[in-house]
Amino acid sequence: METKKRWISMYVENQIGVLAKVSGLLSGKNYNLDTLTVGETEDSTVSRMTIGLTMDDVTFEQVIKQLNRCVEVIKVVDFTDVPIHKRELLFIKVSSCHEKDKEEIFRIAQTFDLKIIDYDKNTVLIQCIKTEQGVNEMIALFRRSFVNRIEVVRGGSVAIEAISVSER
């Protein structure tokens, strides 16, 4: 069956062990998880998780049901085909930079709306906030241009329902 990328936004109890419960459930059932982010919401007793998975329809339906079954899970929302804002934070550190490299990095930053947040003589730290796809493309670009000189940390996506925007 055809697999595709899915997104789940989930309200859970803000308690010890809930993240372990959710990640353990997914791994125990042999469901592959791409990303998972979690943080407290405006209500301190509730956390919200954004989960990205790649799977077929039948498996995905099972995942939703299994998650809904957890006592600690308050609500599961399928974000796959609804208007949402979704962003991921990416840091790229480029080392052993010559002046020319730096110029190139600053040009890239300007073109792709990235932010240089720190640097010294040889190293530049770039901050990027884009969709998962956008982050993938930036990493690919830097990997090509600065072979074996980049260090990447990415945060996983967070997502929220759109208000009047329908573009994803």
């Binding site: 419960k21 459930l25 049901k65 809904n68 079954r69 006592v71 899970v73």
Partner: protein, 573 residues
């Protein structure tokens, strides 16, 4: 202000707990102290925590009440793990309370500390550590509610010692509201009508009933529905008893050791009306050929069980009893006389029997029970003993057959029977085991003796781990790897000489029973079956172990080999 332990005891009473299965230890000692001299709650002391939880499970399955376990931290808690998974698979309501080291020591690798909540998280319905004394009442209330509602299951409360001792409110909440847990309490009438319409047009309809029918107590309504529609009924092992097994419409169990009629009916039917089953691989056989000609209706209280293994045409998420009542309201009996005639012919033509084995067989022993006892409770172990029992045992209703159907836990039978006898003091209770499983929790003979229980333990002794041996015979060229229980180191390697030079069996079950101050009898001939049961019947204040020496290589037939479709069964293996 009262201590946490006092609130716990108060809560247990409010929940109607009159029997508790407990094994003390350092981090549970305060709770046991609070229970000391308590008149309304009898504390049962099994001899091992694994048996303890199976006993609570047998008590719960046979009474429909929540079984309660109380053990200490560390090994006390980890010994519950198999029993929690067993109960979880078969939807048995349990509340397990584990002592825990004080909050301040948690995470320090203290003596007898384990993260039991972390260990059982994936094998129970809910597990929680109490971190504040003020939460204790609410957590206990929620635990009982979660365990018994929806699809029932085991819940674990981990209770640190300082919370046990801390003074706090004596209030036990009456109401419960959990925002992440709202069991389905209604029935979607639109879906019921769809199902009824599908059924009306069917030429070859079939009811497939699972454990959910028995758990929800829908038996009477289900019988009405079957009789009103005249539709034949098959069950899973967990569903056996959903309608009386002697009923003419009943065709037997489905599955890899199901009856010919049941397996062929499911392969041929055009509407499969299934209720309270998970479509586990033991019943479906080759999944792509399962009920391949049928539209499938599926009622289950657990939405995650629907379309998990088998894609369903008409899903209905509801409690079995409520849904069956609704179906009864709307159902129009289909015209299916030729189909009923067909399945009845299969049933008559291919009964399950062990006739090819001369003399003493498990079939004859189970049939003796059928003929001489009125609605007994029978707990089985796992393996051939379980398969024979579930094939031949006649059931009137639910809560009569206790068996580890999902997890397949050896060592379940004896302790489960013990728990069932405690919950049903006036009923005849049997434990049916093999010689392998009987030794997995044999220590519970001591508990049964101490509690003066008139249990009858039936051991089918073939000197093998028979179910695995059967597979080895059929599919591994009789290479009996690690399945012979008469083996001694001095035996020749790769022995196939099953009769001639075998050392005597250990233990001697009769002497072993006697050493526990129980009664024991060995039976080697068919003629002695009545005498053996009469002997057991003489002992109303102590358990009796009846050891039946059976053909060493008797097999469970029929059988669907792994990966085959249900109608490709070997009738005689």
């Amino acid at each position: 202000m009262i201590k946490g332990t006092e609130l716990l005891v108060k809560a247990l009473k409010e929940e109607g707990v009159d029997i508790l299965f407990g094994y003390p230890g350092g981090q549970a000692i305060d709770i046991f102290d609070a229970l000391y001299g308590e008149k309304e709650i009898e504390v049962i002391l099994p001899r091992h925590e694994q048996a303890l939880i199976h006993a609570a499970d047998g008590y719960a399955r046979s009474t429909g009440k929540v079984g309660v376990c109380l053990v200490t931290s560390g090994p006390g808690a980890t010994n519950l793990v198999t029993g929690i998974a067993t109960a979880n698979y078969d939807s048995v309501p349990l509340v397990c309370i584990t002592g825990q080291v004080p909050l301040g020591l948690m995470g320090n690798d203290a003596f007898q500390e384990v993260d039991i909540v972390g260990i059982v998280r994936n094998i129970c319905k809910y597990a929680v550590t109490v971190r504040k004394r003020e939460d204790l009442g609410r957590i206990i209330r929620e635990a009982f509610y979660i365990a018994r509602t929806g699809r029932p299951g085991p819940v674990l409360i981990d209770l640190p010692k300082d919370i046990q001792q801390e003074l706090g409110s004596e209030e036990y909440p009456k109401e419960v509201s959990i925002r992440g847990y709202k069991p389905n309490e209604g029935v979607h009438v639109g879906q019921i009508k769809k199902a009824v319409n599908t059924l009306k047009k069917a030429k070859k309809p079939l009811f497939l009933l699972g454990g959910g029918v028995n758990i929800s107590g829908a038996n009477e309504k289900m019988l009405q529905l079957a009789e009103k529609t005249g539709i034949p009924v098959i069950t899973t092992i967990m569903g056996k008893g959903a309608i009386p097994s002697r009923h003419p419409l009943y065709l037997g169990n489905i599955g890899i050791h199901g009856s010919y009629a049941a397996n062929h009916a499911v392969s041929e039917c055009d509407v499969l009306f299934s209720i309270g089953t998970r479509f586990n691989d033991r019943i479906t056989g080759k999944i792509s050929e399962f009920a391949s000609k049928a539209r499938i209706i599926h009622i289950d209280v657990d939405s995650a069980s629907i379309s998990k293994n088998i894609v369903v045409d008409i899903p209905i998420v509801a409690d079995a009893k409520l849904a069956i009542e609704k179906v009864l309201e709307y159902v129009i009996p289909p015209k299916i006389a030729p189909w009923v005639e067909q399945v009845q012919a299969w049933k008559e033509q291919y009964p399950i029997t062990m006739d090819r084995y001369p003399g003493l067989t498990p079939e004859k022993v189970i049939r003796y029970i059928n003929e001489h006892y009125d609605s007994p409770i029978v707990a089985t172990d796992v393996g051939q003993n379980q398969l024979w029992t579930t094939q031949y045992l006649e059931l009137e209703s639910n809560r009569q057959l206790l068996t580890s159907g999902g997890l397949g836990t050896m060592g379940y039978g004896l302790p489960a029977a013990l728990g069932a006898q405690l919950g049903n003091p006036h009923r005849q209770v049997f434990a049916v085991s093999g010689d392998g499983g009987m030794q997995m929790n044999i220590q519970e003979l001591a508990t049964a003796v101490a509690l003066e229980l008139p249990l009858t333990l039936i051991v089918f002794n073939n000197g093998y781990l028979g179910n695995v041996r059967q597979w080895q015979q059929l599919f591994f060229d009789r290479r009996y790897s690690s399945t012979c229980l008469t083996y001694r180191r001095s035996c020749q390697r790769n022995c196939l000489d099953k009769d001639k030079c075998c050392p005597p069996y250990t233990p001697d079950f009769v002497k072993l029973a006697e050493s526990y101050d129980a009664y024991g009898m060995r039976v080697t001939q068919e003629e002695d079956i009545p005498r053996a049961f009469a002997y057991a019947g003489e002992h109303r204040k102590a358990p009796t172990l009846l050891e039946f020496i059976i053909d060493r290589e008797a097999n469970v037939s029929p059988m669907v080999p792994g990966g085959k479709a249900l109608d490709q069964m070997i009738l005689d293996c």
